[in-house]
């Protein structure tokens, strides 16, 4: 991965910049938003876009731009923590399955089958029933859903790496299973994991919006893009703008992340890299 590779893949360039712009917008909301998002001013409600409120105001007179900024941050944080849980637990599971094999591999595969059988929504409902709704609830639900995804990706990549001679050489050098997994398998599947991470991040943002929309995720007065959609839902026919803004934001963020993920895969996959020269070998 070099800057040259980025220039060769314009989609990566566009995707990364767009995603980074949204993430930056969210980050800024930590310190500054045009208006505080808790500030309710019923007198100013249902304004369209205007000079003071670039994206207008909602049914409580709150500034839409401030809400979108804060909501984007929530979406990113929830999705990113979900990915982190998935990577933190799933990748070691997948690597262990390859390094030890046998019964452990069977166990990892059956566990991930079992988790796959429960969609994130069902897990979220379960957690909400036990601990009440909230952001943490959404993070855990998305994280649990990510674990088997990363376990499978890590196992698939590591299986291909494990057949190479250098893994046998490491075994001859007296390295144990864990050392082989960390020193040789993990660095060689890193690009796979980064690409999968980007894609899971976009799926996580969708999932967070879904969970907040059905009321299991973020709770007011905090806000998220899903929650904004839920608030605007009953007013859709009268004030469609209130749904269009958060809806389009979700769409753009997800598209940006997907483009970046595709670009990363193209730039990092050695089979696609230097395609022309590969034919000339021999």
């Amino acid at each position: 991965m070099t800057w040259g590779a980025i220039r060769q893949h314009p989609s990566l360039y566009i995707g990364l910049i767009a995603a980074a712009a949204f993430a930056l917008l969210g980050l800024i909301s930590l310190w500054w938003t045009p208006y505080p998002i808790e500030q309710i001013a019923i007198a100013r409600r249902f304004h369209g876009p205007m000079a003071e409120h670039w994206l207008g105001t909602d049914h409580l007179g709150r500034d839409m731009l401030s809400l979108v900024m804060s909501g984007t941050l929530t979406s990113f944080v929830v999705a990113a923590l979900g990915v982190l849980i998935g990577v933190g637990l799933g990748v070691p599971m997948g690597l262990a399955a390859v390094a030890w094999g046998g019964a452990l591999e069977w166990l990892v595969l059956r566990l991930s089958d079992l988790t796959f059988a429960f969609p994130a929504i069902v897990v979220a409902i379960l957690i909400a029933a036990l601990a009440g709704p909230g952001e943490t609830n959404a993070i855990i639900a998305i994280g649990v859903f990510n674990i088997p995804v990363f376990a499978r990706v890590a196992r698939g990549g590591a299986l291909a790496v494990a057949t190479q001679d250098f893994v046998a050489a490491a075994r001859l050098a007296g390295l144990g299973n864990w050392a082989i997994a960390v020193r040789h398998l993990l660095p060689n599947i890193m690009s796979l994991l980064i690409v999968q991470g980007t894609i899971q991040l976009s799926l996580g943002i969708l999932a967070e919006a879904g969970l907040s929309y059905i009321g299991l995720g973020t709770q007011p007065p905090a806000t998220s893009l899903g929650l904004m959609l839920r608030d605007a839902q009953s007013l859709f026919l009268i004030h469609p703008w209130l749904s269009v803004v958060p809806g389009l934001t979700i769409v753009f963020v997800v598209i940006a992340l997907n483009i970046a993920g595709d670009g990363l895969r193209d730039a990092m996959d050695p089979r696609l890299r230097r395609e022309g020269l590969a034919h000339g070998a021999g």
Binding site: Q164, D165, F166, A168, A169, A170, R171, L172, A173, G174, L175, R183, H184, P187, N188, M190, E275, G276, L277, H279, G280, A281, G282
Partner: protein, 519 residues
């Protein structure tokens, strides 16, 4: 008029020329061979003749087939390829569709040649011509051996009665015996059909045995061409002379006298694999290694020879401790072990050099880190001692310590194999197992690596176990040869005796398959 004529052909990728200023003529009925190392542009030249270059290539110069330039139109080009040019590739497993029966694939080629109405009569004839049974038509590619797959590929190439057959390293994925039969088959077919052949190989002896004219390529340029006898008998170019010298393997003089005391003793060793199946429909267990016993003396070089699939690699994996024996055991320096239970300090006394120098290093790790890895076996070493060990090993193989900071992709195949040998030496082992140490290297590099190995053996008093199917290499290196077939050792002796008077059927077949030496 020449069948193929290339005039000033240049092929470049992103501004870098892979083939430059190549001109050559192949007359009708010629058997033309192109010799060159990997990366010399010989395959690209063949692809250019068939109009199959990747789209990223920029081409200048002229390619004429039968006096007419290649058609620019893709459909016309495809029609010409299908009717007049047949191609055979290096790896038949990837060139055949794994989900189609052999017969169907040949029939598909017949349909594409617009001869469908004659398919029923053509198919048996073609199978017979390439030496396959009619029954093979109903099989899938994975049910055939490597040689049979290559025969099927040749049958497909013959369907349209092509005027030109392009064979790109058709035998380098095959073992010696199969290689010889496939080469003989190609010769026979070309003679019978008066077909023109373009044969591409890095093996100078295969080209010499097959071709009437040769061209020698290096770094995208044709350095020499002419009649086989003239070029190989009296080479004009320096490079051709070097290639010829490298293809002859001189006996590496044994500078040390082996001791009689065995360093490694293998006693009734077997490795049994349970096969798939259920209850008593289960196939009998496969004995990959079957009651093998032998000894290797300190300082001795023993070669294990046999066709692919005879169990020699399985045996090597057990000896170095990557796999455990099902029955029997080994004794290294007085301590018995069964395979994986080899204790670390004993493990340091053994090492393995892999066949493929490209996959034996972690691409994400610097060479220094890779080479230092086996030092774990010796317990904790100080930083200085570790650096000293690395320097000693790297200098022993004729490279510099400055190279250790680099990553594997920055090295050529020959350098990597040297570094793989350095890694094997870093723990100062007494026995090194070499699994086909030179078969993945170009012929021009083999001599160097073998010379290095025999020098290291003399300097460090190493014992070698060489695993190979290349009898010439074995004859040059080994003190003693073991011939293995279907998991058993069937013959044993010094190379002089064994190759002068082979007793076993397999040894005779291996001897017969040797390609004749080049003038």
């Amino acid at each position: 008029m020449a069948l193929v004529e290339l005039a000033d052909l240049t092929i470049a990728f992103g501004g870098r020329p892979a083939v430059s200023g190549l001109s050559l003529r192949i007359e009708r009925g010629d058997r033309f061979g192109i010799i060159g190392e990997s990366g010399s542009g010989k395959s690209l030249t063949a692809l250019a003749i068939a109009g199959l270059l990747p789209e990223t290539a920029t081409v200048s110069g002229e390619v004429q087939f039968d006096g007419v330039p290649l058609p620019a139109d893709e459909r016309a080009l495809a029609r010409m390829r299908g009717k007049r040019i047949g191609m055979v590739f290096q790896e038949p497993m990837t060139a055949l569709n794994p989900l189609m029966r052999i017969g169907e694939q040949i029939e598909e080629a017949i349909a594409l040649a617009e001869l469908s109405e004659a398919a029923q009569t053509l198919l048996p004839g073609l199978l017979g011509e390439v030496g396959l049974e009619p029954g093979h038509a109903a099989r899938f590619p994975h049910q055939l051996s490597g040689g049979q797959r290559q025969r099927a590929m040749i049958a497909m190439a013959l369907v349209s009665q092509p005027e030109l057959m392009i064979a790109d390293e058709p035998t380098s994925a095959l073992d010696v015996i199969t290689q010889r039969t496939v080469l003989d088959l190609i010769t026979e077919i070309c003679t019978r059909r008066h077909m023109t052949l373009l044969f591409i190989s890095h093996d100078i002896r295969a080209v010499a045995a097959l071709c009437s004219r040769v061209g020698v390529m290096r770094a995208g340029k044709l350095v020499e061409q002419g009649d086989t006898e003239a070029v190989l008998g009296a080479p004009k170019a320096d490079y051709t002379r070097r290639l010829l010298a490298a293809s002859r393997m001189d006996r590496q003089a044994a500078l040390i006298k082996p001791h009689d005391r065995p360093l490694l003793a293998v006693k009734n060793l077997s490795r049994v694999y349970q096969q798939a199946g259920f209850w008593f429909w289960r196939n009998p267990p496969l004995r990959a290694v079957d009651e093998v016993s032998f000894e290797i003396g300190a300082g001795e070089c023993v070669a294990l020879v046999g066709p692919s699939g005879c169990g020699k690699t399985t045996l090597a994996r057990m000896i170095v401790g990557l796999d455990s024996a099902s029955e029997g055991h080994m004794v290294l320096d007085g301590s018995p072990y069964r395979g994986r239970d080899l204790p670390p300090l004993l493990r340091a006394g053994l090492s393995l050099v892999f066949q493929d120098p490209f996959s034996s290093f972690d691409p994400r790790m610097s060479m220094g880190d890779s080479l230092a890895e086996p030092l774990h076996l010796l317990g904790r070493l100080s930083g200085e001692e570790q650096a000293a060990r690395l320097r000693e090993a790297v200098e022993a193989v004729g490279l510099e310590t400055g190279m250790l900071k680099r990553y594997p992709h920055e090295f050529s195949g020959g350098q990597r194999q040297r570094l793989a040998i350095a890694r094997a030496l870093v723990t100062r082992p007494r026995l090194v197992v070499l699994d086909e140490p030179v078969s993945a290297l170009d012929v021009s590099l083999r001599g160097e690596v073998l010379h290095l190995l025999s020098r290291l053996r003399a300097e460090h008093g190493l014992s070698y176990l060489i695993i190979s199917h290349d009898l010439d290499m074995v004859a040059a290196m080994a003190d003693r040869v073991l011939v293995m077939e279907k998991g058993r050792i069937v013959e044993e002796g010094t190379p002089e005796h064994l190759f002068a008077a082979p007793q076993h059927r397999l040894t005779r077949a291996l001897m017969a398959a040797r390609l004749p030496d080049v003038a």
